[in-house]
Amino acid sequence: LRVPPELAANEVVTRLLGDNQQLREALRRSNLALRQRCEEMEGWQRRTREEREFLSSRFQEARALVERLAQENHSLKGLVNG
């Protein structure tokens, strides 16, 4: 946008140019920050997902082990009391 010389010193034009400059800068910084936060968020979500899957597997293992030990236990008690 080329501001003609006769307007360059005009108070309203100066003010508009200044405001627009600040607003553009703010949006530029905002966009940069948002891009970084989105990337971080993606990374975090990926790790959260991995952790949930990992815990789900460990929990299935633990439950299967408890079942196995409880049954062994039950059988052994039968032998002892039988």
Binding site: N20, C38, R49, R63, E67, A70
Partner: protein
């Protein structure tokens, strides 16, 4: 690039990142809906194991 092109680009980009953030948080919230806290955890209790050793 004219100032107006730059403004247009800035607005587009801003809209795109905000949409991305919104969508990321929607996914996260959806995944949270099926909480592991709602599962049956009685099998971690000794009394449940004693009561029914075959089927927890």
């Amino acid at each position: 690039p004219t100032a107006s092109e730059t403004v247009h680009q800035l607005l587009d980009e801003n809209q795109r990142y905000l949409s991305q953030l919104t969508s990321l948080l929607q996914d996260a919230t959806q995944e949270m809906e099926h909480s592991v806290m709602d599962q049956d955890w009685s099998w971690t209790q000794y009394r449940a194991v004693k009561a029914q050793p075959q089927k927890l």
